[in-house]
């Protein structure tokens, strides 16, 4: 059977060598070449990620969180006024406790990105598993899962997340991530289920079932590859969403625990009207970085989305 298929494939590829349709990576590359803005976003995004991660390795976190009242609210580019920290220069100024805003920005961005990415990956895995299970078994199981998801959608999620964060007994990065995951998987599951349902109705799945292929194999090797491009698109778009959620919660004071700087905690300085109005260098860089990151990630996601759907491609 396998050799037969291979032979057929060989014949087909010989036939179509002249005008083989672009596949996989090629489509994606072409999409980015056609859309200059997407290419620019991708380059900017990769540049930012590399800078943030390499720089955060070079920075000594203790030195960044080092407090010095001499240096309270220094303007950007100012030199330290603390004799003990002579010669230090603060590119983006300092906060009330004399901490270097630039260092906090880099470390905060790293933390926000890492947390956003972990939450996205875990919620996506849960979403894919549940979505494919619901789509494959359909009927009663699908009904139960969808009723649960509909129910979670009705709940005021932001409020419930905040409540859980305030009542959880040991609050740290892990519990925070877990809470975000618990209240975010359903959107993914719903999306994946919708797409997997259409795939599940295709003839080759029915044929596979008739042939007695084990369910697990059908789900993993036949249904999942068919929605893999959607999974990648979804991963990108949700990454941006997770960063937005985490920084938003950190802004409100219900995000990453104190001692773990986040872009949101830097923006949260702006809850103080004086800082908001007169000391914009404290919160504005973090807000701008959030904007740039989220816009770039989304734009790259859109380009991937177009590449995944032949009807929308530019090239």
């Amino acid at each position: 059977m396998a050799t037969n298929q291979d032979a057929e494939a060989a014949v087909l590829s010989d036939d179509m060598a002249a005008s083989s349709p672009p596949m996989g990576m090629k489509v994606i590359v072409r999409e980015f070449v056609r859309d200059k803005l997407a290419l620019a976003s991708l380059i900017l995004l990769v540049g930012l990620l590399v800078t943030i991660f390499i720089w955060s390795f070079l920075i000594d976190q203790d030195q960044v969180t080092n407090v010095s009242l001499w240096d309270s609210y220094l303007r950007p580019m100012a030199f330290s006024e603390d004799p003990a920290r002579e010669g230090m220069r603060f590119i983006l100024g300092t906060d009330s406790a004399g901490r270097d805003i630039f260092g906090l920005l880099i470390i905060g961005a790293r933390n926000s990105l890492l947390l956003g990415w972990s939450v996205t990956v875990v919620t996506s895995i849960i979403g894919i598993v549940i979505g494919i299970l619901a789509a494959y078994y359909a009927g009663l199981i699908d009904n139960i899962i969808m009723r649960i998801i509909d129910f979670i959608m009705i709940l005021p999620q932001l409020m419930i997340i905040i409540i859980f964060i305030t009542i959880v007994p040991t609050y740290n990065v892990l519990t925070f991530a877990l809470i975000l995951i618990v209240f975010n998987w359903h959107g993914q599951a719903r999306f994946i289920r919708g797409r997997a349902l259409t795939v599940g109705r295709l003839d080759f799945i029915s044929a596979s079932k008739t042939m007695g292929t084990p369910s697990l194999v059908i789900m993993l090797r036949e249904m999942m590859p068919n929605i893999s491009s959607l999974i990648i698109v979804n991963l990108t778009l949700n990454f941006a969403g997770s960063i937005g959620l985490e920084t938003g919660l950190s802004y409100l004071g219900f995000g990453l625990p104190p001692g773990t700087p986040s872009l949101g905690t830097l923006v949260a300085y702006a809850t103080n009207p004086d800082i908001l109005e007169n000391r914009a260098w404290v919160w504005l860089p973090a807000s701008t970085l959030i904007l740039v990151l989220v816009l770039c990630i989304n734009y790259v996601g859109r380009a991937l989305q177009r590449a995944a759907d032949a009807k929308q491609r530019l090239g």
Binding site: D150, P156, M159, I163, G244, T271, W283, I290
Partner: protein, 319 residues
């Protein structure tokens, strides 16, 4: 029609019961007395325990749930410890502010979204369409708290065009002054909400109109001599607005929920602000009722959306 509505409302009862049980269980993890607000949550553990015992809070969960439902059905949702007032009165006091803000936001959202969506769909591939698409992309991606902060910073503090905090000026005395002052305070937060709220309206309208352009009923209308502008207003728009109508139930409900971020950033004393304040002062009875209220609104929103969709689209029969 009425039969369906009646059946849907009957179906909501078990949903409300499940919702209340779930939220009751979550609330049970809160210290103090989240259900009646009689116990001071800031007491030390030993005293807290004694008070909980005295108020019957250590009874089994089902017993307390039934007791709480009994009170709730008589309109008694407990007291706010922070305000020393019934929770219903505390929430009622904030509801007006939130409804005013949300109403203006919804009106602005549709004022921006409908024309942009229609024009982008009608003249798709034009410069206008491309601009709208960029705007739509940005409004989808930008987190609301970042935009709100930038708006306050630029238009509130730097340009001084709008008040940046609160819901009314302290100098407003006469009815007219109060009214204008309130409206003036509403403008910036509602514009911010509206700018980010148009995404789905524009997206649905635009793609529906593009699809409708080549459909048979449009060709028929054109060939029997209906002017093109009339085809758009009378034929296409009605069909293209169906997906928006299906979300309208949630729009109505959103009038009462407000936004935590917007109200926090603009220091606007509405429901979202009350929620954050209650979290910070550990006013658990208020939090509990707020979550329940929002969950209930979510259920009503689904019901309304289905009913509206059924009313505007006779092809749909929801049982």
């Amino acid at each position: 029609m009425w039969k369906t509505i009646f059946r849907r409302i009957l179906l909501m009862i078990p949903q409300i019961i499940i919702l209340s049980i779930l939220i009751f269980i979550i609330a049970d993890f809160m210290p103090g007395d989240p259900f009646r607000g009689l116990v001071d949550p800031n007491l030390d553990p030993a005293q807290l325990e004694a008070q909980r015992e005295a108020f019957g809070l250590n009874d089994p969960l089902p017993v307390r749930y039934v007791r709480w439902v009994g009170d709730a059905l008589q309109g008694d949702f407990g007291r706010s410890f922070n305000y020393q007032q019934p929770v219903v009165a505390v929430i009622g006091g904030r509801l007006g502010n939130t409804v005013r803000l949300s109403l203006l936001s919804v009106i602005l959202t549709y004022l921006i979204g409908l024309p942009l969506g229609i024009l982008a769909g009608r003249y798709n591939e034009s410069v206008l369409d491309k601009t709208v698409l960029v705007y739509n992309f940005v409004s989808f991606a930008v987190p609301i708290f970042v935009l709100a902060l930038l708006m306050v910073w630029i238009f509130g503090y730097n340009l001084n065009w709008f008040p940046s905090r609160g819901s009314i000026s302290i100098n407003a005395n006469t009815t007219w002054e109060r009214w204008t002052s309130q409206l003036y305070h509403l403008i910036l937060p509602s514009i911010t909400t509206a700018i980010l709220g148009t995404t789905s309206i524009i997206q649905y309208l635009r793609s529906e109109i593009i699809d409708a352009k080549v459909s048979d009923y449009v060709k028929t209308a054109r060939s029997k001599g209906v002017p093109i502008s009339k085809v758009y207003t009378k034929h296409i728009f009605r069909n293209a607005s169906l997906p928006i109508a299906s979300g309208f139930g949630f729009t109505i409900v959103s009038l009462f929920t407000g936004s935590i971020f917007i109200e926090q950033i603009f220091n606007y004393r509405g429901m979202g602000y009350l929620f954050l304040q209650s979290i910070n002062t550990r006013d658990y009875s208020v939090i509990f009722v707020l979550v329940l209220f929002y969950g209930f609104l979510g259920l009503i929103g689904t019901l309304l959306s289905d009913l509206i969709l059924m009313a505007v689209d006779p092809r749909i029969r929801i049982d």
